[in-house]
Amino acid sequence: MEIAVRAVYGRVPITVLTPYGSIDGSTYRLLIAAAEDVVAEGCEALLLDLSEVDYVSTAGLVALQSIAQLMRGEARADDAHGWDAIHSIDRDRDEGKQPGVRLLNPQENVARSLDMVGLAAYFHIYHDEAEAVEAF
C-alpha cells in the first residue's frame, strides 16, 4: 500500500496522509507506521484522506483508532484485540470526536464500515478538503 504525505496550511500546519488501496490485516500497520513518522516529526493536525481507499477491514478501523490515540499522545492499545482498542477512545474530549485527526472523503463502503462499529461518531468526517482544513 502506498501512502502519500503532503503538508497544507490552514490556521495551523496540517499533514495530509493519503493511503492508496486497501487497509486490511496485511497493510494496516503501514498506515500506523506512516502516522507514527509524521507525529515524530511534530505533526499536531492530521487529515486522513480516504478517497483512494477502496476497502477497510476491522484491522483498518483499529488502525484509525490507533492513529487517534497517537495524535492524543497516548500509547496505542494492543491492536490485535479489536473492540479493546476501540474501547479506549476518549469519549469525554471534544464531545467524543477526535480533535487532532480528521477524515476526508471515505468511499461508501468504507463509510458504512465506520458506521457499523460506531467509529463514524468519533471522527470529524468531511467531503471537502478546504472545509476540513478550515476546521482544524
Partner: protein, 138 residues
C-alpha cells in the same frame, strides 16, 4: 464444497487477503448482482479469513480454501481451513444498546462478519478443520 463452486486455494498468509477478495469479486459479479451486497459479503469473508490466519493458524502455515457459487439469488462463499476447531457463530452478539466502551471485549471481526451477510453457518470437518458458509442475497 458445491460442484458448481469456483475454488481458490491459498496459504494462510495475510498477503493473500487481497487475492481472496478479488477472487470473490470476480466470480460474484460474473452473474450480475448488486455491488454493495457483494462488497458486504467480501467484508464478512475477509474478516473470517483474517481471524483464521491470525488466531486459527497463529501465523503458521496452513491451507485456506475459498469456494464461490450462486444459488438462485444468493451468492454463497464457503471457507475451509485446517486450523483448530472454532465456531464464530457461537460468539455472543454485542449489545448495541450499550455505549461503545461498555460492550463486551473481543469479536469485532466476528461482529462485522455476522452483520454483513444474510446467513452464516459453521461445520466442524470430520478430518479436522472448519467450514464456514456465507450466504448473501445479491
Amino acid at each position: 464444497m458445491s460442484e458448481k463452486a469456483a475454488t481458490l486455494r491459498v496459504e494462510a498468509d495475510l498477503k493473500n487477503l487481497a487475492r481472496i477478495r478479488e477472487f470473490i469479486l470476480e466470480h460474484g459479479t460474473a452473474h450480475g448482482g448488486a455491488h454493495k451486497a457483494i462488497m458486504d459479503l467480501i467484508t464478512a469473508v475477509d474478516e473470517a479469513v483474517t481471524n483464521i490466519m491470525i488466531h486459527g493458524y497463529r501465523g503458521k502455515a496452513g491451507p485456506v480454501e475459498v469456494g464461490v457459487w450462486h444459488d438462485g439469488q444468493m451468492l454463497v462463499v464457503q471457507v475451509r481451513d485446517k486450523a483448530p476447531p472454532f465456531d464464530p457463530t457461537e460468539a455472543p452478539p454485542p449489545d448495541l444498546s450499550l455505549p461503545l466502551e461498555e460492550r463486551p471485549l473481543g469479536g469485532l471481526g466476528i461482529f462485522m462478519m455476522k452483520q454483513s451477510v444474510d446467513d452464516l453457518t459453521y461445520r466442524s470437518l470430520g478430518d479436522g478443520g472448519n467450514e464456514l458458509t456465507f450466504r448473501k442475497e445479491v
